[in-house]
């Protein structure tokens, strides 16, 4: 877990300290890293036969979890909006 939080925090601190000195366009780098990451994610999904057989069930579970997550997000934001208006 620490091996994921450390690069994020180091990146933020480095970016913050460099923000007046450097104009860096990270869009291209990010794009290719994402492509490599997604390819290797696809690779590990594709090479796991148990996972491929579980996929149809993952699909239905995904729809249920997504619907509930989105529903409660919208409800909570609506409540927050109402509370802000009352003030």
């Amino acid at each position: 877990m620490l091996n994921l939080i450390v690069p994020l925090v180091v990146g933020i601190l480095l970016g913050y300290s460099l923000r007046d000195k450097k104009r860096v366009n990270l869009g291209g780098v990010t794009f290719w890293v994402i492509i490599v990451l997604i390819f290797s994610l696809g690779f590990s999904i594709g090479s796991s036969n148990e996972l491929l057989s579980a996929m149809p069930r993952v699909g239905l579970n995904g729809v249920v979890i997504l619907a509930l997550a989105v529903f409660f997000s919208v409800v909570f934001v609506k409540i927050i909006g109402k509370m802000a208006k009352m003030k």
């Binding site: 933020i12 492509i35 290797s40 994610l41 699909g59 989105v70």
Partner: protein
């Protein structure tokens, strides 16, 4: 962007499937362990770097202060509650389903990270749920904006700082820009922390 991501995922899937059924010629561990972890760590570093470098984002966050955190906090709580209820309804590991919904639409993070913490099946779920969240935000924005002016921001989750920001501004008005950006920014920042915290508390 999405079409390249879908293509990379599909190509990776086909490559992994063929490699597995043709005697593991490519040494699958190299791709699914080393390449995967190296790119994930690089991505987190580069994301952190671009957050830090983003002068407007940092300045805007400082100016609005903690008030701007109310919207992403509501979205984060709502998403995680949805994951909890979903896990209970479906009878799966509720920590896994909460971690999946704590991706807030950032599928390139949630898929690999949840996969690493809860195994490949939850990784696939994390990818699917968060990928569909971004697609849903883009395709239903004209309907969502009628429910509530901030509903598209709630739907978009972490994606409202980049991919869905232009369409949100178009449908919700330019005054939604800061709220949407700050919300997506905050959710992107807390997503890796909430996912790992959920995994640690199980």
């Amino acid at each position: 962007m999405i079409k390249y991501i879908v293509a990379a995922l599909a190509l990776g899937g086909v490559a992994g499937y063929l490699n597995d059924n043709w005697g593991n010629a490519l040494a699958g561990n190299f791709v699914s362990d080393y390449l995967f972890n190296a790119s994930l760590i690089t991505l987190l570093f580069v994301m952190g770097l671009s957050f830090g470098l983003h002068r407007e984002a940092m300045a805007e966050l400082k100016k609005t202060g903690f008030k701007v955190l109310v919207v992403p906090f509501a979205i984060a709580s709502g998403s995680i509650l949805g994951g909890l209820v979903g896990g209970l309804v479906l009878g799966v590991n509720v920590f896994g389903s909460m971690a999946v919904s704590a991706g807030y639409g950032w599928y390139t993070l949630a898929g690999p990270l949840v996969g690493q913490l809860f195994g490949p099946e939850f990784g696939a779920l994390g990818f699917t749920v968060n990928f569909l969240r971004e697609l849903l935000t883009i395709t239903t924005i004209s309907l969502a904006v009628r429910i509530d002016r901030y509903a598209p921001i709630a739907l978009g989750g972490a994606t409202t700082m980049d991919t869905t920001l232009p369409i949100i501004v178009r449908y919700c008005g330019s005054e939604a820009l800061i709220t949407a950006f700050a919300s997506g920014f905050t959710l992107s920042l807390i997503a890796p922390f909430t996912i790992t915290a959920i995994a640690a508390s199980q």
